[in-house]
């Protein structure tokens, strides 16, 4: 799946995560998290796994995490990628 334009899903509220995707030639993921020290690797792994699941191989992905669980991270990523497909 290609990222057609910038899109965002999620919020900066506690236990949520805000994920922004943008078109890019390569896959570039940045993770910022309030729990980065203990869960930074897990968050990155979760994002990578779910990008793969959605067939996204090139995108700029920005993750601003406020302590979300994996199921939330996956949901926000999926929503952002779907939004990046929509026209308009």
């Amino acid at each position: 799946m290609t990222i057609k334009h910038a899109a965002v899903a999620g919020t900066l509220e506690s236990c949520d995560v805000m994920i922004t995707v943008e078109p890019s030639d390569t896959l570039e993921i940045t993770v910022d998290s309030t729990v980065k020290d203990l869960f930074g690797k897990k968050i990155l792994a979760c994002v990578e796994e779910n990008l793969k699941k959605q067939g996204v191989t090139a995108a700029k992905v920005q993750v601003q995490d406020k302590g979300a669980f994996d199921c939330t991270i996956a949901a926000r990523l999926e929503a952002a990628v779907l939004r990046a497909q929509k026209e308009g």
Binding site: E13, T72, A74, A75, R76, E78, A79, L82
Partner: protein, 294 residues
């Protein structure tokens, strides 16, 4: 029949509140993708609800229901196709006005179940009647035979608008609808679930209104605040007196049978056949609430 003393609404786009839902002691959690989610976020919320359901499945005994958008919106089909595979216990369908509305949902749901190889008719439907037409069609809706109907919900806030009435703390403006729904639900052996009490801060008013709800026949209600849950649970639970009386009824009935008496009396009143299932139900409910301890 399920026990639904309280159905707690949880906004479907709020992960923090969803994570805490299981400990808030409501019998049913209503994950909401309707009123609590803005149009621009319905897509994200339904994915979040789906993932949440998948992550907690089997971990908690409580009932997990999802309120989809009503059948006149562009959202309800996506709600069902996205969320049904995660197998919520029930879908709550708002603004139901005719049996056809429920059949529409039923058909799509059946199709999705087939596509995903899910057991048929396992996901229940809980319609909310919250328009004048819905209320007038209450019995028709309650007698819909989809095999999924498990309760009828009363929606007071939207109804007031539909009626052109004014919302008051006392709630006399929704009296007729409340009674009509209980009657229709009981007639079809369905769970009647009452409307929310809208003022989060007014605990006293909430308790009084819940007592009234219990008095007119409701066995539970929707609540918008976790703080209302404990109070509402208490009002809808059988009291010690109710339990004792039910035990006495069953014992007296048993004794009558053993002695071959056609009729027995308890506290000077005749015990007749219809009282028996009622007493059994009270004990059943009490047992479930107390985790098997009576």
């Amino acid at each position: 029949m399920r026990i639904r003393r309280t159905l707690l609404w949880i906004p479907g786009n709020n992960p923090a509140m969803m994570a805490n839902a299981p400990i808030l002691r409501a019998d049913t959690i209503g994950l909401d993708n309707e009123d609590a989610v803005q149009p621009g976020d319905k897509d994200a919320a339904r994915i979040l609800i789906r993932n949440y359901l998948e992550s907690v499945r089997g971990k908690h005994p409580l009932e997990l229901a999802v309120r989809i958008n009503d059948v006149t919106t562009p959202y309800w089909k996506d709600d069902i196709t996205c969320i049904a595979p995660a197998q919520p216990d029930a879908f709550i369908v708002p603004k139901v006005e005719r049996p056809e509305d429920l059949y529409l949902v039923h058909e799509l749901l059946t199709q999705v179940e087939k596509e995903h190889g899910l057991p048929e008719n396992e996901i229940k439907l809980l319609p909310i009647l919250e328009t004048a037409l819905g209320i007038e069609n209450a019995f028709l809706i309650a007698s819909t035979t989809t095999g999924r109907l498990d309760g009828i919900m009363m929606g007071g806030e939207d109804l007031v608008t539909s009626l052109g009435a004014l919302r008051t703390r006392e709630g006399r403006e929704i009296d007729y609808a409340r009674c009509r729904i209980v009657s229709a639900a009981r007639a079809c052996n369905l769970n009647p679930i009452d409307t929310v009490f809208p003022d989060v801060e007014d605990i006293e008013g909430m308790i009084a209104d819940t007592k009234y709800s219990r008095q007119i026949g409701y066995s539970g209600r929707a609540v918008i605040s976790p703080r209302h849950v404990t109070y509402a649970n208490e009002v809808y639970s059988p009291s010690e007196k109710d339990i004792l009386y039910a035990q006495e009824v069953l014992e007296a009935y048993e004794e009558g049978r053993r002695l071959g008496k056609g009729a027995v009396s308890l506290h000077g009143k005749m015990i007749d056949a219809p009282m028996i299932p009622r007493a059994q139900q009270v004990l059943e409910i009490a047992k479930m609430i107390r985790g098997g301890k009576l």
